[in-house]
């Protein structure tokens, strides 16, 4: 006979054989996102002399199924910046709500101050890094396009690990492989940005969106494109 508390209320081993304790497990270990579910594909962006052009198609795929075809993945923030989001769409919607509340707090607490694209990128990188450190990442890669504190064009990326980098041209997802080399023909170096006109940048991005539609099986021919300059930013359907 086993009198130990661990054995209380259980069938006796000597009568019924060893007890399978795994049935006592009331819950599984907590698991976070292991992979994204509904996803958006590439985001492209190019700096030019007075601003930044950014584009992303309107598709949210469910695996290989083109599930939602009018999902806007460019998110303007206070007329100075636009965030293009690729990756998990529900996490994108969470980020959208987060930016909404940030916008409200910023406008509520004082006047005359606004977060520029650089500030916004710093903030988002902290959010992403915090989440990856909690081993519960937001499954996205974002491009933040806009103007920095000196009203210079600003373009930078942050991904689900909180890794950040910037370049005169940036592309996420499939576009990082296919569009980025093409975009580098426009400006492969920070010093060349000053020679890039708005028309040239827009044309290059549109061309890349076309190439991506032909070659990326998770893409769509309908996309949003936006240009941010000192005069403000605007998103257009394409």
């Amino acid at each position: 006979m086993n009198h130990l508390p661990q054995a209380w209320g259980r069938p006796r081993d000597d009568v019924y054989g060893p007890y399978d304790a795994s049935y006592l497990q009331s819950r599984l270990p907590q698991a976070h996102t292991q992979s994204p579910i509904v996803t958006g594909t590439s985001v492209l962006a190019v700096k030019f002399k007075d601003g930044v052009v950014i584009a992303a198609d309107n598709l949210a795929s469910y695996g290989s199924l083109a599930r939602f075809t009018d999902v806007k993945r460019l998110r303007p923030f206070n007329s100075k910046s636009i965030v293009g989001i690729g990756g998990d769409v529900s996490d994108m919607q969470y980020l959208d709500r987060l930016l909404n509340s940030l916008d409200v707090t910023e406008n509520y607490s004082s006047t005359g101050h606004s977060l520029n694209a650089k500030n916004l990128h710093t903030y988002l990188s902290k959010v992403m890094y915090k989440r990856r450190s909690d081993i519960n990442p937001l499954w996205n890669q974002m491009l933040v396009a806009g103007l920095d504190g000196n009203d210079e064009p600003f373009l930078s990326s942050v991904d689900l690990l909180g890794t950040t980098f910037s370049s005169p041209t940036l592309a996420t997802g499939f576009g990082a492989h296919l569009a980025q080399p093409l975009l580098r023909k426009v400006a492969d170096d920070e010093s060349k940005v000053a020679d890039v006109t708005r028309e040239r940048a827009v044309e290059a991005v549109k061309e890349c969106m076309k190439v991506l539609f032909y070659r990326d099986a998770r893409s769509l021919d309908r996309y949003s494109i936006a240009v941010v300059t000192k005069e403000g930013g605007g998103v257009e359907g394409g």
Binding site: S110, H113, L115, N119, Y123, G149
Partner: protein
């Protein structure tokens, strides 16, 4: 024994609608040595009179740099000011960390205002016994704010708090029109002269008892902000000389005939 029944805590109004504990806290500010702040279109300056508890001790710090773009001057309980300044340092650092942006002054001032207000409405808390002048520069230019233990904060053009500060305020009111367009040096001069006005007969401004803090919009270069500079000890010397010299000059002009006779 008691002055009245309504001054034992900071959450009870008197029938006249006053909160005595908060008023007593304001008295603590009036016991502190005087600090002066002035703002122009380009700069903002804090000037303070330091005191030493005894001959052998050092002088109590009156001007504290919080971040690169702003600093505070205090009058009242220095230990309470340290608590507040540590809080402000943390908030300023947090803003730099999360947004890469120097914290807007209006916001940090609101934050300490809110904090101080809480201790006037929660039982068992004590109001801060310190008044602050917060001076600095942000995106919207140079600013000067006043903070009181009641939690009241307001933006000022020029301000003086602490013992005998009325004399300094009188000086500031008299020269109010000159501040907006004053240069960095002129602003410091006005600050020191306002401070001098509030001194008692037997006292003088020296390199030991004067502190100056300055920040402003940088004239050139890539940086937009002139880093908050604290002048203490021997560094105050040249500033003090310049201020006193200009005061003598102005005084000399006023009684020109007399000065020629006195000169020997």
């Amino acid at each position: 024994m008691f002055r009245n029944n309504y001054d034992n805590d900071s959450v009870t109004f008197s029938p006249q609608g006053r909160i005595f504990q908060v008023e007593y806290a304001s008295e603590a500010v009036k016991q502190g040595s005087v600090v002066v702040g002035i703002v122009s279109k380009t700069h903002t300056v804090l000037v303070a009179l330091k005191r030493n508890a005894e001959e052998l001790s050092s002088y109590q710090k009156k001007v504290i740099g919080i971040d690169e773009h702003f600093g505070i001057a205090l009058a009242g309980l220095a230990s309470d000011a340290r608590v507040l300044s540590n809080f402000m340092k943390q908030q300023a650092l947090a803003s730099k960390m999360t947004y890469g942006r120097p914290i807007p002054l209006e916001r940090i001032v609101t934050q300490i205002g809110d904090r101080a207000q809480t201790s006037t409405q929660v039982y068992g808390k004590r109001p801060y016994g310190v008044g602050l002048l917060i001076a600095g520069v942000d995106e919207t230019g140079p600013h000067l704010f006043e903070f009181q233990p009641s939690g009241m904060t307001q933006e000022m053009i020029a301000c003086a708090i602490g013992a005998r500060s009325q004399m300094a305020r009188t000086y500031l009111e008299r020269h109010l029109d000159e501040f907006a367009d004053a240069s960095r040096d002129e602003l410091i001069k006005h600050g020191l002269l306002a401070l001098k006005e509030s001194l008692s007969q037997d006292k003088e401004l020296t390199v030991d008892n004067a502190s100056v803090g300055v920040t402003g919009i940088a004239k050139d270069g890539k940086r937009k902000v002139e880093t908050f500079k604290l002048y203490d000890g021997s560094e105050v010397g040249p500033l003090l000389e310049a201020a006193l010299e200009s005061a003598e000059l102005a005084g000399g002009e006023a009684r020109e005939g007399e000065s020629m006779e006195v000169d020997s």
